[in-house]
Symmetry: C2
Subunit: 340 residues, 2 copies
């Protein structure tokens, strides 16, 4: 089982489901001495297996795979239908809203066979048999938490480490309950969780500079998880309009939390779609499937105003550089600050 | 002019207007080697002068005074009247809503005469003549900012240092514009501000442990500002029901941002009043004056559900201990972590 202290450098790649995750990105982070991740979310089990195979052809270092925990009960169809009706003015096809578990069991079988060093969970706890199976396969199991209460539940459930995600983080809030999303800033979250659980913590949310890496290590985290910092690397699968929005480096390009794209709260650079659908319901993954074709069409025509521009609060500082270089520089800067 | 690096320990007391600020608290922080503050807000100029005299009788160390920058234009009376009507069911007298500038010029005259080492501003920039007068009096002028844009404006205006206040902070958001309050977590804010301005930064928001002090210093701040961490000290003027709410140390006692008490966004432990008046308008200081007698009555009868329970997000970790001991312990812990 991988201990966080075994990492050559204390930097973990955020999974970045929904496009940016690629084997090339994960491999670059692993080769730099950090822990690269593949995002299983939204992919088929077969695609995940193929991505793991590609990653393993690129590096023999430890890596991680992130799974979405099975979603809660289906949303009220009337709520989804109302939101669908409100999207009729959007340019592009709508998808069929459906409830599914992101093929959790099939992907679990893939990771149990492939045995990545770490399997992290987003959106909740793994079912107990799943946790036991991953343990048997030799995987460390990490759980994403956004509140001290979630941290206590994950520790009691048997997690090996926690990804403590502050409200600064880009993309989805990774906690257990979309109806009560954690709102804690990262530094507050780290203090509260460290006071209540003994597990190693990976700090996530708005970390884009070496100074911020140093800060979370000083706060007591065992590693920093970075996502937005890597979105502009050539290895990432970030779409062209998403890259362009990030490249503006505009401190006034504010991020905000929205359910407009997926039916689950997530942070992105505020754009026309996000503003227009501020009343989107909590209905995940139904709304994800509803808007997926619409977003694909907008991406294809380069329309940044109609796609999810996931980004953490410090996104204006994200650089365009090879992922390995970014990770090494963050670690070097943090080391220089901390003198260790 | 006081340089932050001259502080024996890099800890600044948050001003804590509205009750908790006392000369005894400021003196204890100063004597411990940090920078104590007196909050001028809500007091008369005469009260401020008396408090400064008392502080100076207790310590000859450098101290700071915090002023509210003059408020913007008066709120629409119809908006205030609607909110007043919605408060009729509350137990206790309502005050007369009025617009004022918190006696800015009178207090400015007091500090120009008393020459504290630092004068910090909340809610905006000081008028240029005020800034010049404070400079002439030998005071360092600090400005509270919540966004990189505010930081750039404060730097261009001539501030000597910035108090960078993250969204984790208890009490009022200290930025320039209540209609566009900064939402940045402290670590994201520090990174963004450090990339844009060269001024020394005092980091504020959710800092209750030595590890968090170490974190903001590692992130590049010159000092940490702590408020909630001191609210339970005997030197603070924190009301009994406010103390009791903090003493529960309940990680589930969540904080939230509200305009219910003052007409300006502020963070407190969520209680009945805050939930009941979630639609309170942006109308400061009119709403402050409107609810002040109501809150005084609730405080007198020990009703924590009807008063502002200002607290930062990490409040469950605030300890009951003498202020000097808290400040020294925070500094010692931070020093041990950073090895400096």
């Amino acid at each position: 089982v991988l201990a966080l202290s075994q990492l050559e450098i204390p930097i973990v790649q955020a999974p970045l489901a929904g496009g940016p995750s690629t084997p090339a990105l994960a491999a670059a982070v692993c080769e730099a001495g950090g822990l690269g991740f593949l995002a299983a979310g939204y992919r088929t089990a077969g695609e995940l297996a193929a991505q793991i195979a590609e990653l393993r052809s690129r590096t023999d270092r430890p890596y991680g795979v992130n799974l979405f925990a099975p979603a809660g009960p289906p949303a009220d169809p009337a709520v989804v239908e109302r939101y669908r009706a409100s999207l009729q003015g959007e340019a592009g096809p709508l998808g069929e809203p459906r409830h599914d578990d992101d093929a959790f069991e099939e992907k679990l079988a893939v990771v149990a066979a492939e045995r990545p060093a770490v399997v992290s969970l987003t959106f909740g706890l793994p079912p107990a048999p799943a946790l036991a199976g991953l343990r048997d396969a030799g995987c460390s199991v990490w759980v994403t938490v956004t509140t001290p209460a979630e941290a206590e539940r994950a520790a009691a459930h048997g997690a090996d480490a926690l990804v403590a995600q502050g409200v600064e983080a880009g993309g989805h809030r990774g906690g257990f309950d979309d109806s009560a999303p954690g709102e804690l800033g990262l530094l507050a979250l780290l203090q509260l969780v460290l006071a209540r659980v003994e597990l190693p913590l990976v700090a996530a949310g708005g970390i884009v500079t070496g100074a911020a890496v140093a800060a979370v290590l000083a706060a007591g985290a065992s590693a920093a998880q970075v996502g937005t910092a890597l979105l502009r690397s050539p290895e990432a699968g970030t779409s062209a309009p998403h890259r362009a929005a990030l490249a503006r480096g505009d401190a006034l390009a504010e991020t905000g939390l929205t359910r407009a794209f997926s039916g689950r709260l997530a942070r992105g650079i505020v754009n026309r779609f996000q503003r227009s659908h501020a009343d989107a319901p909590s209905a995940y993954p139904e709304v994800h499937h509803l808007t997926a074709p619409l977003r694909a069409a907008a991406r294809a025509r380069g329309d940044a105003e109609a796609i999810n521009l996931w980004a953490g609060q410090a996104h204006p500082l994200a650089r365009e550089a090879p992922a390995g270089e970014i990770v090494r520089q963050l670690a070097d800067e943090a080391r220089a600050i901390l003198g260790r």
